[in-house]
């Protein structure tokens, strides 16, 4: 991963976690209710950026890109998919960090930073 990709990774992971917390709370309240268009627009934007970063190797599902607003995705649908993205982010991170002197470092071309 490049420095730019690591920066993107950290930003997107934080955004995904924020959305996941928010939507999970909604899902607990009413799991079968549809998510509104405003929230869905931002969920889709973050998922779309995540797809670029994850690439085909780390994307959770080959046949899922973003939610179609016409399908009225429910809170639990969105919460489930965000969980999948967070897991794949963790897999990408685990494959690109190494422990040295008791601390974790990102690996880029065999170098730690």
């Amino acid at each position: 991963m490049t420095k730019q990709e690591v920066d993107n990774f950290e930003k997107l992971q934080a955004q995904l976690e924020g959305l996941h917390n928010e939507i999970s709370a909604l899902s607990k309240k009413s799991q079968n209710d549809a998510l509104n268009k405003f929230k869905l627009k931002f969920v889709n934007r973050i998922i779309s950026d995540s797809n670029v970063l994850l690439g085909d190797d780390y994307k959770p599902f080959a046949d899922f890109d973003i939610f179609d607003e016409n399908d009225l995705p429910t809170n639990s649908d969105v919460a489930m998919m965000l969980t999948q993205y967070l897991s794949c982010f963790e897999k990408l991170r685990a494959d690109n960090v190494k422990q040295d002197f008791g601390a974790w470092y990102w690996v880029y071309n065999g170098l730690f930073f």
């Binding site: 009413s30 079968n32 209710d33 549809a34 998510l35 509104n36 268009k37 016409n70 399908d71 009225l72």
Partner: protein
């Protein structure tokens, strides 16, 4: 002047409908129709103007419909107006356990010039595959669109009416998009 029923009342009515048995036991069919008339006219307002409920007889069967004016106040409604000449939208109510081919044919026969070629059947359970295929064949052969919505769609309409996160009419639009995706290109 028409006024929508309050959210709490709609929620209660949807919940009562979902608990009703299918068929005619204890006048369940009559209760289903009465509650659906009150509920749908509110859930779909103001995107569809409720015009009237109407009883008719087809091949000896009593049928109750809801008729709405299509005022094209939403993109999906403009679409069906242009594509199917749907000036008035008919919703037929079927409190049956399993939807049959004859139920589709009854509505199809009723879709005349004043209604256009688009109609909706509300029933209780998910439409069987062969009947769904029947509606697709009808589209392929005659370019008529009959959507079948069931209790799960009604439940979602009730939930979005309460939460105001989306519009109940979007549940019908979703069904329409699913239907068009199933139709041959």
């Amino acid at each position: 002047m028409f006024t929508q029923i309050p959210v709490l009342s709609a929620k209660r009515k949807v919940s009562t409908i979902l608990k009703l048995p299918t068929g005619k036991t204890d006048n369940a069919d009559r209760d289903y129709e009465d509650l659906m008339v009150q509920t749908m006219s509110s859930l779909l307002y103001p995107h569809l103007d409720f015009a009237q409920e109407q009883s008719r007889t087809d091949s000896g069967t009593q049928i109750r419909d809801l008729i709405f004016y299509n005022n094209r106040s939403y993109d999906f409604l403009s679409d069906i107006y242009d594509t199917y000449e749907s000036r008035q939208l008919v919703i037929e109510l079927k409190n049956v356990k399993v939807l049959e081919r004859e139920h589709i044919n009854q509505l199809n026969r009723y879709l005349t010039e004043s209604f256009g070629k688009f109609g909706i059947i509300f029933t209780r359970n998910k439409v069987p595959k062969n009947i769904y295929q029947n509606t697709i064949d009808l589209w392929s052969g005659q370019r008529r669109c009959i959507l079948v919505l069931d209790d799960s769609d009604l439940k979602l309409m009730g939930e979005v009416y309460e939460s105001k996160q989306r519009l109940p009419i979007e549940v019908i639009k979703r069904k329409y998009i699913e239907f068009t995706r199933s139709c041959p290109a």
